[in-house]
Symmetry: C2
Subunit: 240 residues, 2 copies
Amino acid sequence: MNSLEVCYSPALFNFYKNKDAIVVVVDVLRATSSICTAFANGVSSIIPVESKEEALSYKNKDFVIAAERDGLILDFADLGNSPYNFSEELVRGKNVVYSTTNGTKTIQTAASESKAVVIGAFSNITALTEWLITQNTPVVILCAGWKNRYNIEDTVFAGALSERLLTTELYKSICDSTSAAVDMWNNHKSNLRKLIDTCAQRERLRKNKLDDCIDYCLTNDTCPVVPLFNGTALINLSST
Amino acid sequence: MNSLEVCYSPALFNFYKNKDAIVVVVDVLRATSSICTAFANGVSSIIPVESKEEALSYKNKDFVIAAERDGLILDFADLGNSPYNFSEELVRGKNVVYSTTNGTKTIQTAASESKAVVIGAFSNITALTEWLITQNTPVVILCAGWKNRYNIEDTVFAGALSERLLTTELYKSICDSTSAAVDMWNNHKSNLRKLIDTCAQRERLRKNKLDDCIDYCLTNDTCPVVPLFNGTALINLSST
């Protein structure tokens, strides 16, 4: 039996980290849903960078730059953070440099203290679950949250993924955050959109007219991909 | 309208802190339930200290020393961390020095960045709610958790207290952790003991035969007290 834990904030990762674990980074609205979409649309690689300055340094070097802060595209960037930005036309065969408010930093935090880092969202939940089961290792689901605060959309996805993993009986959890996430998922899975409509990020996206992608981000298996961080860039473990 | 937020770990307090807020520190199993019990039984003051060494430095100086680590009483201490330890016979009129795994550090963290720090538990929920309402300030409910990890018993209490405050319409919350805590409370309030029996701290207490106090710690209003941290010690704002 492998351990399964959920960590609700990058700022708590130090208390959940496990060198033997695969870390699943989650930022459902919208970074990890967008990353899955980009791979489903044939992107070659995605380089996560933390600072605006680092993103800008790739300008005019044959990279596509995706960069946002607080949901809004930065002026020098080619793309923002909506999954709809990562169309096949714009990303197939390209290398994308990606900087976001929460997701990028989370990937880098996780990579330093784990066996491997992969990307999770409702978009790739089945492909990801199947791949994790083949790995036979402990799993830590790391929610990106919002500026290190807890958020509901990442928690409920962590619950959905945890339930699938626990059902296999290859994993066990004595972790309260896993129990609470599974409980949230079971209480709200029949009307996930209603839950998400109450959460803080929903309101942020609405204010910026960026809420058109919410139903897409809550839909299972739009993208049969497993994005893995290789230390420098995200690459797709499954062919599309 | 005053803001109401719930912070799930002392390690996240930096992202929820508010100089204008009253912070309610929560460590239901067992520190804050024990503190309320001590005041209900007439203790004069409780000095929270972080290290074992600091607790030991008060030995033989006319203080009662309560000190535990991982639930177990330390050898030099007079009392452990069970509310049953703080009997009227042992504490009335005394000054207690108190060092615990999670609770003490949390009080000190909160005190440095807030308007005031008070102690919350099911034991004093009505007295605390009534006092908070008279203060007309923002409130941050700070869960002690377990070694900086999220825990269910503090979250569900945060949900119970949040629901009482939000019902007054003096508070508003756009905080996902508050919404999730209220949701947990509403889903489990009809059988709180069943929820607590699934949580990690329940198992730790059982292993150490320290689980006799759980029903007591889940009972409302056994202690009509409001313990306030005055910068050095906890004192009782309500006479008993």
